[in-house]
C-alpha cells in the first residue's frame, strides 16, 4: 500500500500524511503484534494436532504388533500369516499396512508388494513412500510403520497410511495462512479508515486554529456528539479561546477607559497651560495656572500608579515579599489614619476587632486595600451615619479558622445588585458617582490584592449601604 505517485499533489500529500499519522503507525504496530500472536497460536494448534494424530497411529501400530506377535507365539508362522492376510484384507478401509518377509526381506504375506528401502530408526520406526496401483486411485502417499523381528528368520512390519495426518496438517496450514492474510487486510483497511477519521478531526482543529491566528477570534472548533477525547480537547480549546477573547475584550475595554480617564485630565492640563500662555502676562495668573497644572499632573500620576499597582498585584510579582502581617494592627492603623477625615465629615468610624489574625501577605498592599475600602465608604456616606471596620475569623471545619474577614460597611446609597460585579472592573464608575472624586480604580485594586492573597472581595447589601468583605485565607 505504498503511496502511488499522482499528479494531484495534494492527494499525495494527504496520503503521505495518512501513512505518517500516529494512529496509522499504532495500527501497524498492533497489526504486527496481532499477526505474531495468531501465528504462534495456530502454530501450536498445528503442532499439537499432528503430534496427537501421530501418537494415535503409533499406539495402534504397537497394539497390532503386540497382537501379531502373540499369534506367532501361540499358532506359529501359519497362524501369523492367516492373521496378517485377514487384517490386510480389511486394509482397504482401515489403511493398515502389513508385510511379513523372510531373512532376505522377500515378502511372504501382507498387502505391500515389497519391503521398503528406507532405513528404520533405532526403535524400528520407518517412514516410507507408498504407491497405490492405478485401480485403487493411483496416488502416492506416505506410510509410517514399525519393524519387528520374529526370531532371526522373519521380519514383520506393521504400518499405517499417514495421508490422514497430512490432510489435517494441510488444512491447518491453510487456515493459518488465510487467517493471517485476512487479519492483515482487515487491520490495514481499519487502520486507514481510523487514521482518516482522526486526521479529519485534527484537520478541523488545525484549520480553526489557523483562522483564529489569522485574526478571526470568534471562530470555534466544532464539537462532535460522542464526547470522546478529541471532543474533550476541542471543548477545552474552545473554553481557552473564550477566556482569551474575554481577556482581550477586557483589555480593549481597559484601553478605552485609560484613553478616557487619562485623556480627560491630560487635555484639561493642556488647555489650562495653553490658556495661561495666551492670556495676559500676570505673574499671579501664571502661578495659578502652573499649580493647577501640577495638581492635574499629580492626579494623572496617581491614576497611573494605581494601574501599575493593580497590574503588579495581578501578576503576583510581590509574592516573594510576603511577610507576617498583623491584621488587627493594620486595621487599627487604617482606622487611626481615617478617623480625623471621618470626624471632619461628621461620620462615626467604628472599629470592631474581634480576632487576633495574622497572615502572610504584602503589608503595604493590604493596607492600601483596606484604606481604599474605607476611603470609598467615607466618600459615599452622609453626615451622621456610621462606617464600621470589622475583623473576624471565619471559622469552618472543626474549629480551625480558614479565613480572616475584613468587613467594611457604610450606610450610604450602596451598589445595586446588578452592578456589583462591574464595579470591580477597572475604571468602572457608576453614573451616579461620576461627580465624586476618584479614578474608578479603588475597588479593582482591592479585588486584585484579594486575588494575590488567594482571597476574594465580596460586595453585599448592608440595608442600607454597602458591605464589602475582604476574605483572606490563612494558608
Amino acid at each position: 500500500m505504498s503511496p502511488v505517485p499522482r499528479t494531484d499533489s495534494s492527494a499525495t500529500f494527504y496520503n503521505r500524511r495518512l501513512f505518517h499519522s500516529r494512529i496509522f503507525r499504532l495500527t501497524v504496530i498492533y497489526l504486527c503484534l496481532f499477526t505474531a500472536s495468531v501465528l504462534g497460536l495456530l502454530g501450536f494448534i498445528y503442532w499439537s494436532a499432528t503430534e496427537s494424530v501421530t501418537r494415535q497411529i503409533d499406539s495402534t501400530i504397537n497394539a497390532e504388533i503386540t497382537g501379531l506377535a502373540e499369534q506367532f507365539n501361540q499358532r506359529g508362522l501359519i497362524g501369523l500369516v492367516q492373521a496378517i492376510e485377514r487384517r490386510a484384507g480389511k486394509a482397504g478401509t482401515s489403511r493398515g499396512l502389513y508385510i511379513l518377509a523372510d531373512e532376505s526381506f522377500e515378502p511372504i504375506a501382507g498387502n505391500l508388494s515389497r519391503w521398503p528401502d528406507e532405513a528404520p530408526d533405532t526403535e524400528g520406526w520407518v517412514t516410507f513412500r507408498l504407491e497405490y496401483p492405478d485401480d485403487s486411485g493411483g496416488s502416492t502417499n506416505f506410510g509410517r510403520a514399525r519393524i519387528f523381528d520374529l526370531g532371526q528368520r522373519f521380519h514383520l512390519m506393521v504400518g499405517h497410511d499417514i495421508e490422514e495426518r497430512s490432510r489435517i496438517a494441510a488444512s491447518i496450514r491453510g487456515t493459518l495462512i488465510w487467517s493471517v492474510v485476512i487479519a492483515i487486510g482487515v487491520s490495514l483497511i481499519g487502520g486507514i479508515l481510523m487514521s482518516r477519521s482522526l486526521l479529519s478531526q485534527i484537520d478541523t482543529i488545525n484549520e480553526t486554529s489557523r483562522e483564529i491566528m489569522a485574526g478571526d477570534l470568534t471562530r470555534r472548533i466544532p464539537i462532535g456528539k460522542h464526547g470522546d477525547e478529541i471532543d474533550e480537547v476541542a471543548s477545552n480549546l474552545n473554553a481557552m479561546l473564550d477566556q482569551i477573547e474575554r481577556l482581550l475584550a477586557g483589555m480593549s475595554q481597559i484601553s478605552d477607559n485609560i484613553a478616557h480617564d487619562l485623556r480627560t485630565p491630560i487635555s484639561r492640563l493642556r488647555t489650562g497651560l495653553e490658556s495661561a500662555l495666551i492670556g495676559r502676562a500676570d505673574p499671579e495668573d501664571y502661578r495659578d495656572a502652573i499649580s493647577g497644572a501640577i495638581e492635574e499632573a499629580d492626579n494623572i500620576l496617581k491614576t497611573f500608579n494605581a494601574l501599575l499597582s493593580i497590574a503588579q498585584a495581578e501578576a503576583g510579582a510581590t509574592e516573594a515579599q510576603f511577610e507576617y502581617v498583623d491584621l488587627k494592627a493594620l486595621l487599627r492603623d487604617v482606622g487611626e489614619l481615617y478617623e480625623p477625615l471621618a470626624d471632619e465629615q461628621g461620620i462615626q468610624l467604628k472599629l470592631e476587632l474581634g480576632a487576633n489574625s495574622s497572615l502572610k501577605g504584602d503589608r503595604n498592599l493590604l493596607f492600601q486595600a483596606v484604606a481604599n475600602l474605607t476611603d470609598n465608604a467615607l466618600k459615599f456616606s452622609t453626615t451622621d451615619s456610621c462606617v464600621t471596620l470589622t475583623l473576624r475569623d471565619e471559622v469552618q471545619d472543626e474549629g480551625i479558622s480558614q479565613h480572616a474577614e475584613i468587613i467594611v460597611t457604610d450606610q450610604g446609597p450602596g451598589i445595586p445588585a446588578g452592578d456589583r460585579d462591574r464595579v470591580l472592573e477597572r475604571f468602572h464608575r457608576l453614573e451616579a458617582s461620576r461627580s465624586t472624586p476618584g479614578n474608578g480604580l479603588g475597588l479593582s485594586l482591592v479585588s486584585a490584592v484579594a486575588k494575590l492573597h488567594g482571597g476574594a472581595l465580596r460586595l453585599e447589601d448592608n440595608a442600607p449601604g454597602l458591605r464589602a468583605t475582604l476574605s483572606l485565607p490563612f494558608s
Binding site: 510579582a317 510581590t318 489614619l337 480625623p340 504584602d362 492600601q368 484604606a371 481604599n372 467615607l378 472624586p437
Partner: protein, 225 residues
C-alpha cells in the same frame, strides 16, 4: 554641598540639576554608569542621585561598588521600576532612598534635604525645638510658650518628624512612609486632615504660625521670619 547626578536621560538630568542649583547646591552630572562610578569614587560628594537603568554599568552595581569601597555617601535611586521588589532591591544594595519616576521635583528636593542632614540626627537627641515649640522626647511632652499641648501618639510622631525636618519641605508620601510606616497612595486627602488637626493644637491659639502648607509639595514646619 556637592551633589552628583548619574542619569543618562539628559532632560531629566538638566531638570534635576537646574532645580538643585537654584536651591544652592553644586551639581555634577555623569551620563553613563562607568563615568558616574569613577566620579563618585574619585571625588567627595555629599550626596548622589543615581538612575537605576544606565548604559555601561547599572545603578545597583554602582552603589554596591561604592559601598564595598567604604563610601557612605547618601544615595537616592531614581527609577522607572516602581515595584516593591525593585524598591527593596535598591535599598538592599545600599541606597538610602528610592524615588519612582515620574516624580515631582519638590519630592526629590525634600528627600535630598532629609538625607543631607541625617548624620546630625544620628546623635541621640532628647529635645527638639522650633521657635517657642519644644518637644521632650523622653517625657513625651510638647510645650509651646510654656503651655503644655496634649497630643495623640500618632500626632506626636507626626510632629516629631516635622520638627526633625524643621525648615524643610516634607511631602505627604514622606509622612506616610515615616510616620505611618506604610508605602501606599491615599485616594483622598487623609494626611491633610491630620495636619490640620495638628495645626489646631500647636498653632491655633498662638500668634505666629509654625506649620505651613507648601502648595503642590507638602508641608513645612519652620521658625517665623
Amino acid at each position: 554641598m556637592r551633589i552628583l547626578i548619574i542619569e543618562d536621560d539628559t532632560d531629566t538630568a538638566a531638570y534635576v540639576s537646574k532645580g538643585l542649583c537654584e536651591n544652592g547646591y553644586r551639581v555634577d552630572v555623569a551620563n553613563n554608569g562607568r563615568e558616574g562610578l569613577v566620579q563618585a569614587i574619585g571625588e567627595d560628594y555629599d550626596l548622589a542621585i543615581v538612575d537605576r537603568m544606565l548604559p555601561e554599568l547599572d545603578g545597583l552595581s554602582i552603589v554596591e561598588t561604592l559601598r564595598k569601597a567604604d563610601r557612605d555617601t547618601p544615595i537616592i535611586f531614581l527609577s522607572a521600576l516602581g515595584g516593591v521588589n525593585d524598591r527593596v532591591k535598591g535599598l538592599r544594595s545600599g541606597g538610602d532612598d528610592y524615588l519612582v519616576k515620574p516624580f515631582a521635583f519638590s519630592e526629590l528636593l525634600a528627600r535630598v534635604e532629609a538625607l543631607l542632614r541625617r548624620p546630625a540626627t544620628r546623635v541621640v537627641e532628647t529635645n527638639l525645638r522650633v521657635a517657642d515649640l519644644e518637644m521632650d522626647l523622653l517625657a513625651r511632652q510638647v510645650i509651646r510658650a510654656g503651655q503644655t499641648i496634649e497630643l495623640q501618639p500618632r500626632e506626636f510622631r507626626l510632629l516629631e518628624y516635622l520638627m526633625r525636618n524643621a525648615g524643610r519641605v516634607v511631602t505627604r508620601t514622606m509622612l506616610l512612609e515615616n510616620v505611618w510606616d506604610y508605602h501606599f497612595d491615599p485616594q483622598t486627602n487623609v494626611i491633610d486632615v491630620h495636619i490640620s488637626r495638628l495645626r489646631q493644637k500647636i498653632d491655633k491659639d498662638f500668634e505666629q504660625t509654625l506649620l505651613h502648607t507648601v502648595r503642590g509639595a507638602g508641608y513645612s514646619l519652620r521658625e517665623p521670619g
